[in-house]
Amino acid sequence: MKARVTVTLKTGVLDPQGKAIEGALKSLGVGGVASVRQGKVFDIELDGADKGKAEAALKEAAEKLLANTVIENYRIEVTG
């Protein structure tokens, strides 16, 4: 089974990376960029075919390791 966990910064948390990228895009002359926030994706393959189980495992992975829940949110999608 395939899944994607997307981890993004919570609103209001400073995103130095996004800020630097935003600046770079502007100075590269890419038009109309107002703001950039950077996040992470994890493409995960799981053994087994039980979607419920997979989701539980992914939630555990996100909580324990993939996301820093103090400053980040995460979203899980089982993609196939």
Partner: protein, 233 residues
Amino acid sequence: MKAAVLVFPGINRERDMARTLKLISGQEPAMVWHAEPQLPAGTDLVVIPGGFSYGDYLRCGAIAARAPVMDAVRAHAAKGGLVLGVCNGFQILCESGLLPGVLMRNAALKFICKDVYLRVERSDTPFTRGYNAGQVVRVPVAHGEGNYVADEATLAKLEGDGRVLYRYAAPDGSLDPAWNVNGAINAIAGILNDRGNVLGMMPHPENHVEAALGPTDGRGLFAGLVDHLKQAA
């Protein structure tokens, strides 16, 4: 030797580099701001020093590689001018396409600062003529993303052309995964471009040049460059 040290926002080893260049060549390098469209006239050697240009946000070296001054560096390299990129400089060279491959997170996923041993693979280049082929030199590394990776074709070409100039090795010069500090493929620490005038390397030879502070193995690289330029002149 007329050296130009590039300064990008977030670069932080430019002083170390400038001091070493002065110490070994006797000449003060020019410090060149990233927004400059041109290098100082008569520049022999462009040095891209270490640090965290643009915080190394996005990918190491990615934002710096797209700065205006890099067009001038490309032009300089195209004319056969020498370019040395150390640490972040190496990353910037890869991102700018002047060198192939990329530098990924260290295999242990941690920043690492320690002395390493490098085996000098050949001595017939401007960047290694200060050493003997097979010589082992001790210099520090200080990076979180120095794990060199390239696709198989690129790697075969690099190896086939003898463009790997420095490799992480054991103190006796043997290759041993335990001494490959960041997990780089083929223990690659430094590579040359196809034309032989652009070198990128992760370790910091500029930090090992003064006897009063410890090993001086880094001197050879700079002394070799000085010799090369003298001869060329």
